[in-house]
């Protein structure tokens, strides 16, 4: 992972761009498919926890089911780690990491 900004690094005048501090990069929470949790339950979790509409919750749930994973929320690292913690509390399989460049978000 990249280092925090500031500190001791000094860029050469013709250096390539310095990587952005981790803090400034948006993070995403992904829910992963698992063979145990039923579609109705996953939809419920997305509606109750995230407050998504029935249609959005179903779309994300079907994405998990059909593609193996879905990006269900995006935000700061702290927010995403809280969302993952909540997903784990519901028994869903979920991870979070920095959003990939050019990747679509929920």
């Amino acid at each position: 992972m990249t280092e925090q900004g500031g500190a001791t690094a000094v860029a050469e005048p013709d250096a390539t761009s310095v990587p952005a501090p981790v803090r400034d990069v948006p993070w995403v929470t992904m829910v992963l498919n698992d063979p145990v949790n039923l579609m109705s339950y996953v939809e419920f979790v997305f509606r109750e926890y995230f407050g998504y509409s029935r249609a959005k919750a179903r779309r994300l749930m079907l994405e998990v089911h059909e593609r193996g994973r879905s990006r269900v929320s995006t935000g700061t690292r702290e927010q995403m780690e809280a969302d993952v913690q909540a997903m784990h509390g519901y028994g869903l399989w979920a991870e979070c990491r920095p959003a990939e460049e050019g990747g679509d978000t929920a």
């Binding site: 498919n33 109705s40 029935r54 779309r59 784990h88 509390g89 519901y90 399989w93 991870e95």
Partner: protein, 223 residues
């Protein structure tokens, strides 16, 4: 086991035979024990219990039991270092929250004879506790993907006697979980974007009204 109607919609009412109550209680206790492993004893220093996980020297190891690992997953399977750090800071709270749901469910079973009436708060705890029970049972049945689940639930199996017993527990808890989930779905406040004509039980129709699959698929299959 049966779900009895509650016309007010405020409770889900579960009628269980005594043997079924015993079985569910045993499953809940087993998962509770699994989640309590390696936690400090109740009479340990309360301050230590609270802040012990902040001690950088204290080790929280990744569970080796696949069932426990499924209940307490890595935060990022591509970053082991970050996963260890995240686990050190959060695993205890996650274990405690799961144990809390199990305690509520056990309390329902212990306090009341059948039928048991659960309000939304109790039902929410049951929903979470039954999810963890199902995850552990599925792990013991070696269900690792959707095909495994469909095969077992479709009866295409060569399990021994113990395996068959575990499978029927998995089916029972799945049935119960599904009914509790439906009760909770019915209790959700409508969202401004929800289409009032889109029925709750049409889970298998997409937004354009295209039919996705039968109710049988939804009831049996995993996600």
């Amino acid at each position: 086991m049966r779900i009895l109607p509650d016309h007010t919609g405020e409770h889900i009412i579960i009628q269980m035979e005594h043997a079924e109550q015993t079985i569910i209680a045993t499953l809940l206790s087993d998962v509770s024990q699994l989640l309590s492993m390696d936690l400090p004893e109740p009479d340990a220093d309360p301050f230590e219990r609270l802040v012990g996980h902040l001690d950088p020297d204290q080790d929280v190891t990744r569970p080796t039991d696949p069932a426990l690992l499924r209940l307490l997953p890595d935060v990022d399977s591509t970053d082991p270092e970050r996963s260890v750090e995240y686990r050190r800071l959060t695993e205890r709270d996650l274990r405690e929250s799961k144990l809390h749901s199990i305690r509520i469910a056990l309390h329902s079973l212990g306090q009341h004879p059948s039928p048991i009436a659960l309000d939304a708060d109790a039902a929410r705890a049951w929903m979470r506790a039954m999810t963890d029970v199902r995850l552990v049972l599925a792990s013991r049945l070696d269900i690792t993907n959707d095909e495994d689940a469909e095969r077992l639930l479709g009866g295409d199996t060569e399990l021994g006697e113990t395996g068959e017993a575990v499978l029927s527990l998995y089916e029972l808890t799945t049935w119960l979980h599904e009914h509790i989930t439906q009760f909770m779905l019915d209790g959700l406040a409508p969202h401004p974007d929800d289409d009032p004509d889109d029925g709750e039980d049409d889970l298998l129709f997409d937004e354009d009204g295209q039919f996705e699959g039968s109710d049988e698929d939804d009831a049996q299959g995993g996600l």
